[in-house]
Symmetry: C2
Subunit: 147 residues, 2 copies
DNA sequence: ATAATTAAAGACAAAGTTATCTTTAATTAT
DNA sequence: ATAATTAAAGATAACTTTGTCTTTAATTAT
């Protein structure tokens, strides 16, 4: 569904939301280890989420690292997708027509659009915080390898 | 959702189902033009669907080309996905965990699985023939550019 | 038989994605 | 000030996907 980059962005953001605070920033090494992702690549990806503290915040230097504001925790998952430039996939035609439209629909459109709408709703209503709470509560995981 | 290759495979197969018969085979040029895809790349892709006449049939030489049997028209869309090696995407975790499972679910799993199940059902129940009929009836299209 | 036509097969090229490594800049602690 | 620490920035490499082009094989028509 999503690129590796977006998968890492989602997992990293959820992990940061679960573990960090302004007084307890997380290093890229800790994050990458926790979500089982390549360190340098994850660092690159997080750079897409930090400008203007749009999704997550970063500070350099000792005691620096990544954290997320209470405000940003309330953002929907869709905010991450937008920052990653992947929100277009929810507009795309499942058969690859240039435009997904009612005017010139592909033969899967009439049934696919309902499913797509559910995906959009899910990404628009679920917040980063809600996902982090599931990790915190031990009912969900960000890493297949360890608990 | 799918790779370009799979999108072309789906559109090409539906077009062949709509237009061809054993007595009226279609050239790769006609197919690629009709579905607005690169000719040579589409030829390569169709080679994945022909072995054993699994999905479509091809014959070389004059009056040769591609066609599809009545039997194959009744195949579900999923048959094309399997031939293209894309059926795994319906098993994948939306956050990229190694396994999508109830035992160790990601925090999107509980809601995403329902949507995923609808997608699987759609691809398992919709047949190539049904999609071709929508093109034939003029209520759906395989090409954004022309009618 | 020969020539013409068509898909199959294979080599190759271009572009995009994923990943690593090195250097730079910002911040903190001494 | 200096050194240590951390993310940012940039260069580059490996791999995958997408796409093109040429040669080969099969089939038909003459
Ligand atoms: S036109 Fe294909 S999904 Fe809407
Ligand atoms: S575990 Fe993530 S979708 Fe099932």
């Amino acid at each position: 569904m999503f690129s590796k980059a977006t998968e890492y962005a989602l997992r990293a953001t959820i992990y940061i939301a679960q573990k960090s605070s302004v007084d307890n920033k997380l290093s890229i090494h800790e994050i990458a280890k926790a979500i089982d992702s390549p360190v340098s690549f994850t660092a690159k990806i997080l750079q897409l989420l930090t400008p203007g503290n749009k999704v997550i915040s970063a500070v350099r230097g000792p005691k620096g690292g990544f954290y997320i504001t209470e405000q940003s925790k309330k953002l929907p998952v869709r905010a991450i997708l937008i920052a990653m430039g992947e929100s277009k996939i929810l507009d795309k035609c499942v058969l690859g027509l240039n435009k997904c439209s009612e005017a010139k629909p592909c033969p899967m459109h009439s049934q696919y659009k309902n499913i797509k709408q559910q995906l959009i709703s899910l990404f628009e209503t679920k917040t980063i915080q809600q996902l982090a709470e599931d990790i915190d509560g031990g009912i969900a995981f960000l890493n297949s390898k360890k608990g």
